[in-house]
Subunit: 264 residues, 2 copies
């Protein structure tokens, strides 16, 4: 399947489940939709924190078409499942945003870890939570994001255990994907970044760390979600966890890029 | 002199002239200040057009301190000369913005060509307008910028004549400076990008093109100014031409970077 085929299934109501594993090789993205009066702060927050918040595309106010990554797509119907938030509280889960849409809404698409995990697997490196069929373990750190207006808070990281040698290879591979969180932000001692107990992640599931392995930490796309929930914006729309937007771009296109330019 | 020393001279009224040649090796920047209600559109415009509009730093609303490039500096007094605009009309030139400052103003600093021209000179490549003691010739093209809200219009380019071999070297050098307009956007035939007559630039002065040379075109920092003047925002502050903000960052720090992160 292509990204467009996945989107069509979502648009026609035939796909309402999660997207990992669908249209392999096509770039998937996190969705955040905010009213225009918060859009400057959020855009600035993402710009100031490119590791946890790598921006793939930003739409014009009121426009649901992400022209840089999927011209012709409609962000209101092309994801399998959404969440609707008011003042930081989840008020509805839905498969169609059209009833919630407003002319002042600005859509942001952010890169996610699927891209670099696929690259790690291709290189024969372990991705433990995939081996163990779990969600990746994620932790709040003591590393502050650079604030912007309403938006501030600690960086959230994901963790994958590896040997030191594997971690070095992983760092080299992931540095090529700045729009998918880039190289690890920390290796080894979790306490140095404010994590007390690896067996109790703040989000996701714990995974096994084997003898000879160290924990390797990446900036995580849950950071903007945590920051958003803490900021309690009057109104916000997001994808439902795991129910991502599948673009027309290929994972490989992210290599070495800090921007995905539109074709206009 | 350092960037800080130049800024202190400007702040104390001892420097009111242009900055080229001052604090050599320190990154200089264009200044654009807009009301917050236009800041999202302008930030998005710069993001969508990174070649002509490479963003070095964006301040919080009301805050005149560019923390990423010059912590402690004050953009209201640290440039030697400013321009004040209303609805696209120049209404005043001043050496102090404090009387014009408002809590809703957002400051943007953009990279400029001085950085890559210094690198070209170090490599022994010709920079004709400097040899001829003129302003660089600049031309409106038929290449549209990607629009964002109020902001749209054609890309403006600067031109430097070189042999094909020199142009290739220049392209390699400049590609290392994406925050200073990057590699040339066009080589050779000016008509292909909508320029009819090289001897009549739209801005700046014409320069000599010698036998065996071709015109080499770079995206130019006058693009955002032309776009701003066409958009006629209710209020806008900028540096006066040639009277730039001198940062604490060194030109070399731009190499290979798409972002200058702050130290916070």
């Amino acid at each position: 399947m292509t990204g467009q085929e996945v989107r069509l299934l979502a648009r026609t109501g035939q796909l309402t489940g999660p997207t990992p594993g669908l249209a392999l090789g096509y770039l998937q993205a996190n969705l955040v939709v905010l009213p225009r009066d918060l859009a400057f702060d959020f855009l600035l927050f993402c710009r100031r924190n490119p590791r946890p918040c790598p921006l793939l595309d930003v739409c014009d106010p009121g426009c649901p078409e992400p022209r840089a990554v999927a011209p012709g797509a409609d962000l209101r119907v092309d994801l399998p499942r959404y969440r609707v938030w008011r003042y930081g509280e989840l008020i509805e889960e839905t498969t169609d945003l059209r009833a919630w849409w407003r002319d002042d809404l600005v859509s942001f698409l952010l890169g996610c870890s699927f891209t670099f995990e696929a690259a790690l697997l291709r290189a024969g490196l372990p991705v433990r939570h995939l081996e163990q069929h779990r969600n990746v373990p994620m932790y709040r750190t003591n590393l502050p994001c650079v604030p912007a207006g309403l938006f501030h808070g600690p960086m959230v990281v994901s963790m994958r255990p590896m040997t030191s040698y594997q971690a070095e290879q992983a760092a080299q591979i992931c540095a090529n994907y700045p729009l998918a969180h880039g190289a690890p932000i920390h290796l080894g001692d979790p306490e140095q970044i404010g994590i007390d107990d690896l067996t109790h992640p703040d989000f996701g599931d714990p995974v096994e760390i084997r003898s000879g392995e160290i924990p390797v930490f990446w900036a995580c796309g849950v950071t903007p979600q945590a920051v958003l929930m803490q900021a309690r914006p009057s109104f916000c729309l997001t994808h439902a966890p795991g129910h991502m937007f599948v673009t027309d771009r290929r994972d490989e296109e992210l290599q070495g890029k800090w921007f995905l330019e539109s074709e206009t």
